[in-house]
């Protein structure tokens, strides 16, 4: 029964949502089920939060390697939780917005959390450079084509690209670097992307049918699937 009931729910809800696309009286069901999911996910936060405290508490108590990081995690977690739950420093009463200006939650969010997130995001610039360096090495024919296309697109986005080929006559304007860059992006690149998107769409249909028909059950923890 532990597997059959979730499977029955999957089959029922799956077919209902397919019908909702074609039958207006049940059209809103998709939105409603999304709301149900959000409500369930909020309650599931207790599972996640509990797990975080348990894992890091255990690591701290048993002085496992890198236990000091767990102190930072737990202090951050409880401080943020207390600031939000008890609305410490909120200008209004307990019913006021948790992110109200001047509240401890807002101060920590704006001055600690956001800069840390932005720092992680900023790392992307360096990683793009290192990944590009590897990807654009002309080690075989495909990589050379990729390198050439990338070179044209990058050059076409700069004033230098326009300057280099500005002398070309109008009849050959397609060969001007900025125009060539636009053509690469809008023709071969877009065609490839669309092929991938069509494949993804069909893959989703196939995967969904496997789930709805119960052919795929391993996500339910079914060892027989």
């Amino acid at each position: 029964m532990r597997r059959e009931i979730p499977l029955a729910i999957t089959i029922f809800v799956g077919f209902l949502l397919i019908f909702s696309v074609f039958f207006p009286p049940v059209e809103d069901l998709g939105e409603n089920f999304s709301l149900f999911f959000d409500i369930i996910a909020v309650f599931a936060f207790f599972l996640g939060g509990g797990n975080l405290v348990r894992i890091h508490g255990k690591k701290l108590l048993k002085r496992k390697p890198d236990w000091a990081f767990s102190i930072v995690t737990l202090v951050g977690f409880f401080l943020m939780l207390a600031a939000g739950l008890f609305k410490i420093g909120n200008p209004g009463d307990i019913s006021s917005n948790v992110t109200a200006e001047g509240s401890l939650f807002a101060i920590m969010y704006d001055n600690i959390f956001k800069p840390l997130g932005a720092t992680m995001y900023a790392l992307l610039a360096f990683f793009v450079a290192s990944a590009s360096y590897r990807a654009f090495r002309a080690k075989n024919r495909e990589a050379t084509i990729l390198l050439s296309a990338a070179f044209v697109i990058l050059l076409g986005s700069t004033p230098l690209g326009a300057l280099l080929t500005s002398w070309m006559p109008d009849s050959l304007s397609i060969l001007e670097i900025p125009n060539l860059a636009v053509w690469i992006l809008s023709s071969p690149n877009l065609a490839g992307q669309r092929a991938i998107i069509i494949g993804i769409g069909l893959g989703v249909v196939s995967m969904s049918l496997r789930l709805i028909l119960g052919v795929e059950r391993s996500y339910l923890g079914d060892e027989g699937a």
Binding site: I18, V21, F22, F23, P24, P25, E27, D28, F37, I40, A41, A44, L47, G48, G49, N51, L52, I55, P65, F69, F113, L116, G117, A118, M120, Y121, L123, L124, F127, V128, A131, S132, R134, A135, Q193, I196, I197, I198, G199, I200, L202, G203, V204, V205, S206, M207, S208, L209, R210, L211, L213, V215, E216, S218, Y219, L220, G221, D222, E223, A225
Partner: protein, 420 residues
């Protein structure tokens, strides 16, 4: 006094009269010029024009097609004074009267608008509408519509084409699943990324380092997360067989619960339920870059031999993949987000592109019924390819020859996968 004398006197007086006349004229002109704004403000010259703006015409109300009876669609011909260059009409107000009650303003529209969708109505009520054209200081009301009610349509015939396409593709998938169940051999091309799964797990065993499995940052309502978990089931089985460690930090509580069940089932299938423990999967945070920081930390500290990046990824994809690359892990990635695929291709050893992510579980299991569903997809690809080819050919012929039939065929192809 002779006639001549009278004339002469008149001619003598003339210049003075002329001077006075000219003075009066100029004084009057000056006064008039100075007082023009006042006259304009006080005398309702413009107001008279405002009051005479034309209302909207041909106001009609019709039932909104293919809905559950909650919407009415209003349309009208804008006021003839609604000309952008002149700018006399500043906007429109839409009023509704429900069951003969009081008028209620339901919409403020900018000038130039000629339709309005009234949503959230009841099929049991009667609605009348009128539209008021507005200008600075004046307004003009349209005629009122006859009472009407929204109607419910049971079937959305605007999506018949989608229904047929879905029926053919769905039918093909079910047919091939049935064929596979009956024992028919099905050919599925080799997918390098999935062929490497065993090798990647074996490498972790030899190196004595853990495997890191990242299922993306979306919740269980995303089909990519489900696809990642179905692959996790196969990976967990191998992990149990090879007796290697698996670490799975997740960013969603529900994913944590589902992943635990999946790994547990994999270990049970491998006959090693005792080797499983809940700490293999741990929750980190829902926050995107907080999660990335934690996972990067795990990678740098524990130096996993193998990293699986499968699921829905966004800006964090390259940060994770490059960190994995820097610690020397063999990386197998897969996502259905086309924007993130180039990053994975650049930074990972193997990448499952789009549909391969969804095919992975069936491919790894090798079960005929699961493989049958992959064959069914090919029918969908066939329809898409045929539609593209016919569409391209008809567009080209329509351009070259101007045949109306080709244009019609092109429109049919364009509308094949679109819906109302």
């Amino acid at each position: 006094m002779t006639k001549h004398q009278r004339k002469d006197r008149h001619s003598r007086v003339g210049p003075a009269t002329l001077l006075i006349t000219v003075s009066v004229f100029f004084t009057a002109s000056l006064s008039l010029a100075q007082s023009e704004p006042t006259v304009s403000d006080s005398v309702p010259v413009d107001s008279q024009a405002v009051a005479s703006i034309a209302p909207v015409t041909s106001l009609i109300v019709e039932d909104f097609k293919y809905d559950d009876g909650e919407k009415l669609l209003l349309s009208w011909i804008p006021s003839i004074d609604d000309v952008p260059e002149v700018g006399r009409i500043t906007g429109y107000e839409v009023y509704r009267i429900t069951d003969g009650g009081e008028p209620e303003k339901i919409g403020d529209l900018v000038a130039g608008k000629n339709s309005y969708e009234d949503d959230g109505l009841s099929r049991e009520s009667q609605y009348q509408y009128y539209v008021v054209a507005l200008s600075d200081g004046g307004s003009a009301m349209s005629v009122m519509t006859a009472p009407s009610s929204p109607e419910r349509e049971w079937i959305n015939f605007g999506r018949t084409n989608l229904f047929l396409v879905a029926l053919i593709i769905g039918g093909a998938i079910i047919f091939f699943i049935g064929s596979a169940r009956r024992g028919k051999k099905l050919f599925v091309r080799k997918i390098a990324g999935l062929e490497a799964v065993d090798e990647a797990i074996g490498r972790a065993t030899e190196m004595g380092r853990p495997i890191l499995f990242i299922p993306g940052i979306r919740d269980m309502d995303d089909v990519q997360t489900l696809a990642a978990l179905t692959i996790l089931g196969r990976v967990a089985e191998q992990v149990a067989n090879y007796d290697v460690q698996i670490r799975m930090p997740v960013s969603r509580s529900l994913v944590m619960t589902a992943a635990r069940e999946t790994i547990k089932a994999g270990f049970q299938t491998a006959g090693r339920p005792d080797a499983y423990n809940d700490d293999m999967v741990n929750y980190v945070t829902d926050e995107q870059f907080g999660y990335v920081a934690a996972v990067d930390g795990v990678m740098v500290r524990e130096k996993p031999a193998t990293v699986f990046l499968l699921g829905a990824f966004f800006a964090e994809s390259l940060i994770l993949a490059e960190t994995g690359n820097s610690v020397g892990a063999i990386q197998i990635a897969g996502t259905a987000r086309p924007a993130q695929l180039p990053f994975f291709v650049a930074a990972c050893d193997f990448t499952l592109i789009g549909e391969e992510l969804f095919a992975a579980s069936a491919y790894l299991s090798g079960e005929p019924k699961a493989l049958g569903s992959l064959k069914g997809q090919d029918v969908g690809k066939g329809i898409a390819m045929a539609a593209i080819l016919i569409g391209v050919a008809s567009a080209t012929l329509a351009e070259l020859t101007g045949w109306g039939a080709m244009t019609s065929l092109l429109e049919i192809m364009k509308g094949l996968f679109s819906s109302q």
